[in-house]
């Protein structure tokens, strides 16, 4: 009970601290959604119905996981540099409470972009969604996993390295991952790599959740996603407990 209360108080602390950057955060998410929907649309010209479905469902996935994989590590790296990370670790709070409060904040902050992406995609490509009843749960699972991977990256790596990695990840997620197009278009080696990375399963989960009439979620992807989520949480907790 005490740990839960502390987690919620820490969430309040972190959310209020990030809330002032909320307008900026939402603006960035709007740009991401527009870039992936309108920008990709320009690249491919008049898309076939299947391509249109990929583009429309890829946009919310890209904005959703960019927050977790890119913004979360950047903010955590910044808090390490400015000293608030170490100060918070001096508080008599279980290390897991820090992690869960941060994951909760970042999961919530990623949602506006997700919704915007869905709206932008549906409007631009005039597609009909068939959302599954578990879409909300799927969004939360993807958001938590992305935030956990980002959090682990920022806590385990030196701030400068983590920040550099996030810059690379933007391009990997937007261009070199089977999010807005099918994996069959990738070179074999990259398609194989994505079978073990968390990005493709995230895209599959959102795609199947938004258009369940057309897509399904492979069991392999659920397992890969689960492993990444658990490993990232364990890695982040270990980093929070680490003593120098």
């Amino acid at each position: 009970m005490i740990a839960l209360r502390q987690t919620l108080l820490l969430t309040q602390w972190q959310f209020r601290r990030q809330a002032q950057a909320l307008p900026l955060l939402v603006t960035v998410q709007i740009f991401m959604a527009i870039a992936t929907v309108v920008g990709y649309g320009l690249l491919v010209g008049a898309p076939s119905p299947e391509v249109a479905l990929y583009l429309a469902t890829g946009a919310p996935t890209v904005t959703l996981i960019t927050v977790g994989l890119v913004m979360t590590p950047q903010i955590v790296a910044q808090s390490k540099t400015e000293g608030s990370f170490d100060w918070m670790r001096t508080l008599p709070v279980p290390r897991t409470a820090f992690l869960f409060s941060d994951l909760l904040v970042w999961t919530l902050l990623a949602l506006p972009g997700m919704v915007l992406g869905v709206i932008a995609g549906a409007l631009r490509f005039d597609i009909t969604l068939s959302p599954a009843p578990w879409i909300v749960a799927a969004v939360i699972v993807v958001s938590i996993t992305a935030a956990a991977v980002g959090y682990a990256m920022a806590t385990l790596l030196p701030p400068a390295v983590a920040t550099l990695l996030t810059q690379m990840l933007i391009f990997i997620v937007m261009l070199f991952s089977p999010v807005s197009y099918p994996a069959s278009r990738l070179p074999d080696w990259l398609a194989t790599a994505h079978e073990f990375l968390p990005i493709e399963p995230m895209a599959q989960l959102i795609r199947a959740g938004l258009v369940q009439n057309e897509f399904t979620m492979p069991a392999h992807s659920i397992i890969v996603l689960g492993i990444w989520c658990a490993a990232s949480i364990l890695g982040a907790v270990a980093a929070l407990r680490r003593q120098s």
Binding site: R17, R89, L91, Q243
Partner: protein, 335 residues
């Protein structure tokens, strides 16, 4: 280790790995008892922050022990943290929060009920005269107000041990006095206080006991009176010599003058016995009138002088003083 001490540190040793391999702490031993304020003095890099980080379990010592209220802080850092509240050297960034909200939230995170947290926060805002800024977004408050907020966040639900790292930095003189009162009040309410500072002159009035660190070692420890005992009766002088001037010093100086400070003019310090003080002032005034020195000051030797002596003995750099910060008791400026 005796249970009567809130903080017991014995033979604490920490060496950072890596190429430089800094020996940050080297066999440090001291105690802090409930209701007392212990000042931890030392240069930048003397090992103070490493020591503090070991107390709250952020850094793991190589050898030695830390006990807080009898609990082994190295083996059980989670338990130890419940007994310690700490004000870090750098201000905690609280952008997005107001001072009042930040103080209240920390109190509640530390287990204080909401109404109680609110009441305690209001009390601290009142006694530190922070009311004007209490509800201002923290990105708009000055460094001094941020520093005091950071102190209040530490004092609102104090642990059995309270660690304050340079609490008075950036704080204005009026609130500085209020802050020292609150620091003393924490100890009077039974907390053990470890005050990390290089502001020797101010700490002197508040601390019960001092520990001087240099290159990771305790080079002196004792009450302020015991540390200054050997200086009793001595006066410190400081003279700013005019550029390109040769000075003939009076023969009665106890400790020969040494240069310190910048290049524009040469600042010299040394000590003189009280019996020769009048003679010194007479001499110095004649030098001022003759344009050979620009400024002089004479003050009773203080804890700061003792501290500088300990440190300089240890580093064998004689009595060179880079930045004299004391307020002269007797000052005469050339018109």
């Amino acid at each position: 280790m005796t249970i009567s001490n809130t903080l017991s540190i014995a033979e604490l040793t920490k060496r950072y790995r890596g190429r430089s391999g800094v020996q940050a702490n080297d066999g440090i031993t001291f105690n802090v008892s409930p209701g007392s304020v212990v000042g931890l003095l030392g240069h930048n890099g003397a090992g103070k922050t490493t020591l503090v980080n070991q107390i709250v379990g952020l850094v793991r010592p190589d050898a030695g022990s830390i006990h807080i209220d009898g609990i082994d802080a190295i083996a059980k850092p989670n338990l130890a943290r419940q007994l310690v509240s700490i004000q870090a050297q750098a201000n905690v960034p609280i952008t997005g929060l107001t001072p009042r909200l930040a103080i209240e939230l920390v109190a509640r995170i530390r287990g204080i009920s909401k109404p109680d947290a609110r009441r305690r926060t209001q009390h601290l805002l009142d006694v530190l005269q922070l009311g004007e800024w209490a509800d201002t977004p923290s990105q708009k408050v000055s460094g001094g107000i941020a520093r005091l907020t950071s102190f209040a966040m530490t004092a609102v639900a104090p642990g059995r041990l309270v660690v304050l790292d340079e609490p008075t930095n950036d704080v204005d003189p009026v609130r500085r006095r209020l802050l020292w009162e609150q620091i003393r009040a924490l100890a009077d309410n039974g907390a053990a206080l470890l005050l990390v500072t290089h502001n020797v002159r101010e700490a002197e009035r508040v601390v019960d006991h001092l520990v001087v660190l240099e290159q990771g070692k305790v080079i002196a420890a004792g009450t302020p009176a015991s540390l200054t005992a050997h200086l009793h009766g001595a006066l410190t002088f400081e003279v700013n010599v005019s550029p390109d001037t040769t000075i003939v010093w009076p023969a009665t100086l106890e400790r020969a003058p040494h240069p310190s400070g910048g290049l524009e003019q040469v600042r010299m310090t040394g000590t003189v016995r009280p019996a020769h003080a009048a003679e010194f002032v007479h001499w110095a005034q004649a030098q001022v009138d003759g344009g050979r020195i620009e400024h002089y000051a004479l003050a009773p030797a203080s804890l700061e002088d003792a501290y500088l002596q300990f440190v300089s003995k240890n580093t064998a750099t004689a009595t060179v003083r880079k930045e004299p910060t004391f307020t002269p008791a007797l000052t005469k400026e050339r018109a």
